[in-house]
């Protein structure tokens, strides 16, 4: 008996101790870890897609850059719902006391930009470990696209907040804010790398499944935009010693001469709602729109969106566009879907815009003039009678959200219209501004398409006037104002406004003071929670 027992106990202990050795070893079966990832070219490619995914992420929550740029500009008020917070009014008036206590409106954006930067940095630091084999040329392409994206993220950030922590490798350290010049140096060198190593296919050579990749042409034109903003806003002659004016112009001329991109002939065809409206105006059903599509030849770079967003963290959709829609009402006659009524257009901008300019009807939704029976005025803040038209939700002929009809979860997150970051028209106008010998021709290409007479001479103000109308509501105007002169006098003059609006159906006088704007130097609020979390390593921008 004893022996049996001892044998039993002994073998049990042996069994247990031999088990114990490996027993606690488990491995994840549905995810890889950074220890065993980034090994094959395919994994690098997928990680790059993850970086592009961050492009959809950055504007998916908080206040999207394209929206903020419009709210802050001299073309839109904040708008939104009567019961909503005053965050948009606070941005619009550059005045924190409008909604005091609102210290974190950009926190989600701040965090999402750094998610994108983290993904890029993780990929770049792992590129040496990839076994490229026969696909060694892929490495340059992948790195150039990743660095293009990093430049894109930092360029948004440096314009919004100026001093941001500058990270070029993944870290959880408390990194202090860098100076603007340091950040611009990184942006410039990333874009120069992308120009040197990026994809060089011309527009017609791009495979249909490859639209959306940042190529050499996108990098060249973005670099020019960076050059113009930096040199204008800071009053410098070159881009932190890395790019001269001539070089910037040369990059644009290269795009014009060699990229294969061109203007779309009808301006309205660039915009889903504008082309639908045009069809309706011509007595056609709204389904017979002449929309040129998202991958048309004018688009040098866009953020691609589609309707497959969900509430489980998938941000494939254009989450910010719904803000601009007609608040809580669809207008099926013109295919305008329902939205939240942000970015109400400043009436004087509409009224001073010549109606012979074809771009006017393509850019602004005029309630009375278009005969829209709008019933939700009482539910609106800062209602002006005008909404934007370029980035708004659409509905079908029955008033149903087109995003939902495609299978989207909800019109609120399933909008699928791409955001055109860089159009060929901008390349032309920037080249003209940088002093191209063909400046007059470039400007007139843009004017003629708009149905306007050709200009006879060009200068900075003529080009500014053209940019104001050409790029209305595309997130460009505000930054043009800021870069006009280093003293910000031009911007301050343009931004001083006083106009009548309806809030909750009740008339109100909306006043924006250029002096307050000057205190902030046009910069935005750094998220208060992040300043707190940094233990005061970050400092707030003046005026916020």
């Amino acid at each position: 008996m004893k022996k049996i027992l001892y044998f039993f106990l002994g073998s049990l202990i042996l069994f247990l101790s031999s088990c114990a050795k490996d027993f606690l070893e488990t491995e994840p079966l549905t995810s890889k870890t950074d220890g065993n990832y980034y090994k094959t070219p395919q994994e690098a490619q997928d990680a790059l897609t993850g970086c592009y995914d961050a492009l959809q992420l950055i504007y998916s929550d908080g206040v999207a850059f394209p929206l903020a740029s419009e709210v802050m500009s001299d073309q839109c008020f904040g708008g939104t719902g009567y019961g909503d917070s005053d965050d948009y009014a606070m941005l619009d008036e550059f005045d924190v006391s409008v909604n005091s206590g609102s210290q974190n409106i950009y926190e989600k954006n701040w965090a999402n930009y750094y998610k994108g930067i983290f993904r890029v940095n993780s990929l770049i630091t792992h590129l040496d470990g990839v076994e490229w084999g026969s696909q060694s040329s892929l490495r340059g392409t992948i790195e150039s696209e990743a660095r293009f994206l990093r430049a894109y993220f930092y360029f948004d950030m440096v314009r919004l907040w100026e001093r941001v922590p500058l990270l070029t490798a993944p870290t959880s350290d408390n990194v202090p804010q860098a100076s603007a010049d340091e950040t611009y140096a990184l942006i410039a060198s990333d874009l120069l790398f992308a120009i040197k190593n990026g994809r060089t296919e011309t527009y017609s050579q791009i495979a249909t499944t490859d639209y959306g990749h940042a190529n050499k042409w996108a990098a060249e034109s973005l670099l020019a935009r960076v050059f113009l903003f930096y040199t204008g806003y800071y009053g410098k002659s070159d881009l932190v010693g890395l790019v001269s004016k001539d070089e910037a112009l040369a990059y644009l001329e290269d795009v014009i001469a060699n990229s294969g991109h061109d203007l779309v002939s009808n301006y309205a065809d660039l915009w889903p709602a504008a082309s639908t409206y045009e069809a309706a105006q011509n007595g056609l059903p709204i389904t017979s729109t002449t929309y040129a599509g998202e991958t048309n030849k004018e688009v040098l770079f866009s953020i691609k969106y589609t309707y497959t967003s969900d509430y489980n963290g998938n941000t494939d959709g254009n989450h910010w566009l719904v803000m601009n829609g007609l608040r809580k009402m669809a207008w099926k006659n013109s295919g305008y879907g329902s939205g939240w009524g942000a970015c109400t257009v400043i009436p004087s901008f509409y009224k001073t815009w010549s109606s012979t300019d074809k771009r006017k009807a393509s850019s602004i939704m005029a309630i009375k003039e278009e005969g829209i029976n709008y019933t939700q005025i009482k539910d609106m803040k800062e209602y002006t009678g005008y909404f934007t038209k370029k980035y708004i939700p659409l509905c079908d002929e029955n008033g149903n959200s087109t995003a939902e009809m495609l299978g989207g979860v909800s019109f609120m997150i399933s909008q699928y219209q791409d955001f055109f970051v860089m159009r060929y028209a901008d390349v032309l106008l920037m080249a003209a501004e940088l002093g191209s010998p063909n400046a007059l021709g470039y400007v007139n290409q843009v004017r003629t398409r708009a149905g306007l007479d050709a200009a006879t001479s060009v200068d900075k103000d003529v080009i500014y006037q053209e940019r104001k109308y050409e790029f209305a509501f595309e997130g460009i105007r505000y930054w043009d104002l800021l870069r006009y002169d280093n003293s910000l006098q031009y911007a301050s003059d343009k931004l001083s406004l006083s106009e009548k609006v309806l809030t909750g159906g009740i008339e109100d006088q909306k006043v924006i003071q250029g002096t307050i704007f000057k205190t902030t130097r046009g910069l935005s609020q750094i998220p208060g929670n992040q300043i707190t979390l940094s233990g005061g390593v970050y400092t707030q921008n003046p005026g916020w």
Binding site: K2, L5, L16, C19, A20, L24, T26, P28, L29, T30, S31, K32, T33, D34, G35, Y37, D46, T49, G50, C51, Y52, D53, A54, G81, Y82, G83, D84, S100, G101, Q103, W110, Y114, K115, I117, F118, R119, S122, P165, L167, P170, S172, N174, T209, D210, G212, G293, T306, T308, G313, K328, S338, L406, G407, G504, G505, I506, P527, Q530, T532, L533
Partner: protein, 1072 residues
């Protein structure tokens, strides 16, 4: 047995492989056994009856001849018969009664009357991996007996436990049948999951709602670290041990002595609401809406409603819908039936039961809210080889069918929808269909469509969006073998299994109820999942008495492994149109990938391996010592950090055993001092937190020109923390147990200090990290408290009663949060759309305290606004209007901002208590239970404050509407200006609830039925009345937000809380 041995003997003798020596040994053994049989012959037969002190016969009573192992047991009529020697003393004993010794002498018929034992000190309690005499326990434990639980007539054990175990705070997360509870032992110990672990018959599980309370023999809560440390892993938040019923072990001669009992217990009850919420009716609603409009600067001409011509959308006229009434269902049924069989013989005992419980919901009615549970339990024990080996099994299987309405956050809460809908909307349109506010064909008398096309019919919404059914199965069981050897040693091996499977199916019909609430196609989803937890425990125990020294030593190992997987599918466009046909096979959609969801994954295996030892020593049962040590290895952590070590020591001193106390033992028969210290651990996190995983979900980008088609991407989704280790809770406890006055009064007292450190939390990192933060160790919370249990028992002839009161005071204080600002921020957008943060965990405050502005009444006029200035003359609230709230400028900086927000109270009660009284007189018995809390706050937010058309409760009628009209409720406006988070949301949640009153009568006192030993009828009222100042329907609000694993510390948030019903029930209990 003899027959068995005889057979075995023959086999073994003929065994070819046995050595001659073994054969010889067995032959001698056999002869000895035969000889002892011979001795029995000299005795005489004695019979008798055992009754209790009221004269009722007591079946199943053990009668043992002193000094022998022989004995018998009384039959159903309380009678027995046994062969004795005239000098023999009979020992008669039964749990809960004083043992008696009777010398049979020359009598041939004995009448034995057992007195109920007043003290419970002779009882044993369950401790980790064993039992112990209650009077020798040195830790802080609380025991709840099955019969006490049974008195509550609850559908699940936790609701039965509520309020009767000191220091265990049980709150409901919702009153819906089948919803879960929050169980907190001695305060909230962490910001993550602070629930205790449950161990049912030695098998660890996370939930005990699957049990029928009638199957429970006892529940023992190990509250202090010294008691729980033997369960080192995951014991940081307390351990709850549940023992299910076993057959009664019988002692008697031979295999003939058996005992059996069949019980049948059934009740049926009717549930209804205990209190109602009154929302504004049409007349009041219209008045308030118009007033709101005027207060917000609107003109009289543009008022939203014309009171003389209100819109009517059905032929029935202007609607005046009481949505709350529409949602509620009175007379929801609950019933329960239990059939049990218990029995046993000298060698085998068994206990089986079969039960079914049903509870319908009081919101939505039985079609939408219902819980059915079927249970089967089979427990048995068998003694083999002359008691050397005992084997047994305890198995419970449960099957649960349930369906329920949404009781979650502001976006999925059915009752909240009802609170927010205007009374102007009818439930049905003229065609008898659900009213659709976006319909272009439904118009009022003026030809206008419904005035608010965004308003959703809440009743219809509840119906449309809760088309789902769940069923789940659970099998928890253990098999064990216990071997006694070398006289003092016992080896016990237990194999435990916890298997569960769930299946959920739901259907979304086509509907349109408003501009935003619609479904354009039918949809079905199916989910199945299963999980299994296996454990293997081995214990070696040594027990020895050396004179006055009693020593028990135990060493053991435990291995646990859990695994499982799930599969989920969803598709659209069904060929059929109802829930019964909502199966994926019936979905016709094949080409729209966006409408198809398909996922499945394994639950990561969680493995724990443990080694533990325990030493217990006492001298004369007066000086008691106890020490444990446990080492746990967990697969949750990286190599090198897997092991946690958890020691504990405790000591007790039974002072009344001392000579110097002998003079006062008449008054103070028992007094024991206890002192304990120990550490316990917690590894309750998601797996692989020490790695940085690459995520492939939510990483796609749609390159190319086709909508809806995306390339898959990847990114590292979390930072790693290789150094992650066990969370530790350390507890110090001092207490005493005493009984006074002939043991009629008993008193237990405990003081404790519990410190939980190295929390496993996801602390916020700087956003620049760029991905999700890792789980880290950090943060401390301290809980200090006092527990007291006092009971008084008295027998006045046939009238017996017992009164008991328990109370526990606890103070919770966070002492460290490992972030720069020392705060774990609560979620936003929680109280209403876009609402700001209102709860947090912060150093120096209780976990989950409410953070907001303090108000100081209401501005009665403009001059009050203008005179509200800071010391330097700045207007503090320049934009305020008369009727607005005046906020206190805490820091005196002349403006109201986040810096003026303070601690407005917390959801953790300072004091929880219960009072019970039970009495019996002849055949009647009566039970009363009242429970309550003191010092907890509740945040109430029924209204979506940014929706100006949302309805109000009638409390708003007390609003400010002119100077002097109110000092507490601000004026009404279209916006939420007076509903930024302040103390007007916070209410005192203290309450005293009459939880249960039961009156029963034993019918066999009136009519004797031969086959029955007991026939009892009873009636009971549960949740009869609640004394509280809280204005909601039910102050027992355990709801809080769960945002990830480490933001589950909020509680006491009433967004439209599904209340606990009031139940009246009648039952019958029969014993054969």
């Amino acid at each position: 047995m003899l027959q068995f041995l005889h057979t075995k003997f023959s086999e073994w003798v003929s065994c070819k492989r046995c050595s001659e020596r073994q054969k010889g040994f067995l032959a001698v053994l056999f002869m000895i056994l035969m000889m002892t049989g011979e001795i029995f012959a000299q005795e005489k037969q004695v019979s008798g009856i055992v009754t209790d002190n009221t004269g009722l016969a007591m079946p199943g009573i053990n009668i043992i001849i002193k000094g022998t192992t022989r004995g018998t047991v009384t039959d159903l009529r309380g009678q027995f018969s046994i062969k004795v020697n005239p000098r023999d003393t009979l020992q008669v004993s039964f749990i809960g009664y004083r043992s008696q010794e009777v010398v049979s002498g020359e009598k041939s018929f004995l009448k034995i009357r057992l007195e109920e034992a007043i003290t419970q000190l002779g009882e044993t309690v369950i401790i980790g991996y064993g039992t112990q005499k209650k009077k020798l326990v040195t830790g802080a434990t609380a025991q709840l007996k099955g019969e006490d639980l049974d008195k509550r007539k609850a559908v699940d054990p936790l609701s039965g436990m509520q309020g009767i175990t000191a220091g265990v705070n049980i709150t409901r997360t919702s009153g819906q049948p089948g919803s879960s509870y929050k169980v907190r032992v001695r305060g909230v110990g962490t910001v993550g999951n602070s629930a205790p672990i449950f161990i049912v018959d030695g098998v660890q599980t996370n939930d005990i709602s699957y049990l029928n309370p009638s199957d429970v023999a006892s529940i023992d809560v190990l509250k202090d670290a010294a008691s729980a440390a033997i369960y080192g892993n995951q014991g940081a938040n307390g351990v709850v041990l549940i023992t299910t019923k076993s057959g009664k072990p019988m002692s008697g001669e031979g295999t003939e002595t058996k005992y059996s009992e069949v019980t049948l217990d059934a009740f049926t009850g009717w549930q209804g609401r205990a209190k109602k919420i009154r929302m504004l009716n049409t007349e009041e609603y219209v008045m308030i809406m118009n007033e709101q409009h005027l207060n917000s600067g609107g003109s009289v001409g543009s008022m939203p409603f014309n009171t003389s011509d209100l819109p009517a959308y059905t032929s029935a006229g202007v609607a005046n819908t009481d949505w709350f009434n529409e949602m509620m269902s009175d007379n929801a049924i609950t019933n329960d039936i239990v059939l049990g069989v218990n029995g046993g013989s000298r060698y085998s005992t068994y206990s089986m039961s079969l039960s079914k419980s049903t509870q319908e919901g009081i919101v939505g009615g039985s079609d939408l809210s219902k819980y059915d549970r079927y249970n089967v339990r089979i427990n048995s024990d068998h003694k083999l080889f002359d008691d050397i080996l005992t084997i047994g099994e305890k198995v419970t299987y449960s099957h649960i069918d349930n369906r329920g309405i949404a009781v979650g956050n502001q976006y999925s809460n059915t009752l909240r929808n009802a609170y927010n809908t205007s009374p102007l909307m009818p439930v049905y349109d003229n065609n008898g269909d659900f009213f659709n506010s976006n319909s272009t064909t439904i118009t009022d008398q003026n030809g206008k469509t419904y005035w608010n096309s965004q308003e959703v019919n809440p009743y219809a919404m509840m119906y449309m969006t809760n088309q789902s059914v769940n069923n789940s199965q659970k099998l928890i069981g253990s098999m064990y073998g216990e071997l006694k050897f070398l006289k003092d040693f016992t080896f016990r091996s237990t194999l435990g299994l916890d298997y569960s499977a769930t299946e959920t199916r739901s259907f979304t019909p086509i509907y349109e109820l408003s501009l935003y609430a619609f479904s354009k196609y039918t949809k079905a989803s199916q989910k199945i999942g299963k999980g299994m937890n296996l454990s293997f425990d081995n214990l070696l125990t040594y027990q020895k008495r050396y004179g006055n020294h009693n020593i028990t030593g135990m060493a053991g190992t435990s291995v646990q492994k859990s695994s499982g997987s799930y599969l989920y599918g969803e598709n659209a466009y069904l060929a059929f149109d109802d829930l019964d046909h909502a199966w994926l096979d019936n979905a016709t959609n094949t080409d729209n990938a966006a409408l198809i969801t398909l996922n499945g994954a394994p639950y990561t295996e969680n493995r724990i391996i443990s080694y533990f030892v325990r030493g217990q020593y006492n001298y004369k049962e007066t000086y008691l010592f106890n020490a444990t040590f446990r080492a746990d290895g967990s697969s949750m952590f990286a190599k090198g950090h897997q092991w946690g070590y958890f020691p504990s020591v405790s000591a007790g001193w039974v002072i009344t055993n001392e000579k110097f106390m002998q003079d006062i033992t008449d008054y103070l028969p028992y007094l024991k001092l206890r002192l304990s210290w120990g550490q316990v651990g917690n590894c309750n996190i998601d797996p692989f937190q020490y790695l940085a995983p690459i995520s492939f979900t939510n990483a796609s980008y749609n390159f190319g020109s086709t909508e809806g088609v995306s390339n898959n991407g990847s990114y590292p989704s979390r930072l790693s923390n290789e150094g992650l280790k066990w969370e530790t809770s350390e507890q110090f406890d001092i207490g005493f147990d005493a009984s006074f006055f002939d043991n009629r009064i008993s008193l237990n007292f405990d003081y404790y200090r519990k410190t939980t450190k190295d929390w496993l939390i996801t602390a916020p990192v700087l956003a620049t990290a760029g991905t999700n933060p890792p789980v880290i160790n950090g943060g401390n919370v301290e809980n200090n408290g006092i527990e007291l249990v006092l009971s008084y028992t008295k027998n006045e002839g046939a009238f017996k009663y017992r009164a008991s009161i328990n109370g526990a005071y606890n103070k919770n204080n966070v002492t460290e949060i490992p972030t720069e600002d020392g705060i774990l921020h609560g979620s936003t957008n929680s109280l209403y759309n876009n609402a700001t943060e209102f709860y947090r965990a912060e150093t120096g405050h209780a976990i989950g305290y409410f953070w907001g502005w303090e108000t100081d009444g209401i501005f009665q006029n403009t001059s009050e606004v203008n005179s509200y200035t800071s010391s330097d003359g700045t207007l503090i609230q320049p934009n305020a209007k008369p009727g607005d709230l005046r906020y206190v400028d805490q820091n005196g900086d002349g403006k109201i901002d986040d810096k003026d927000k303070i601690d407005l109270g917390d959801p953790n009660p300072d004091f929880i208590f219960g009072f019970s009284f039970s009495a019996s007189y002849k055949g009647f018995d009566f039970d009363f239970l009242a429970t309550g809390t003191l010092g907890n706050e509740i945040v109430q937010s029924y209204r979506n404050q940014v929706d100006k058309f949302a309805n109000y409760s009638t409390d708003i009628l007390d609003r400010w509407h002119g100077e002097g009209t109110s000092t507490t409720v601000p004026r009404v406006t279209n916006s939420n200006i007076n509903y930024k988070f302040s103390d007007i949301f916070v209410q005192d949640g203290s309450y005293l609830r009459i939880s249960n009153i039961t009156l029963g009568y034993e019918l066999t006192n009136l009519i004797k039925i031969k086959a029955l030993s007991s026939l009892k009828v009873y009636a009971s009222v549960q949740n009869l009345y609640t004394f509280t100042n809280y204005t909601g329907m039910d102050p027992d609000v355990g709801y809080g937000f769960v945002n990830g694993a480490t933001d589950s510390f909020s509680s006491g948030v009433d967004l439209g809380y599904y209340p606990t019903p009031r139940t009246i029930l009648f039952g019958v209990s029969v014993k054969f």
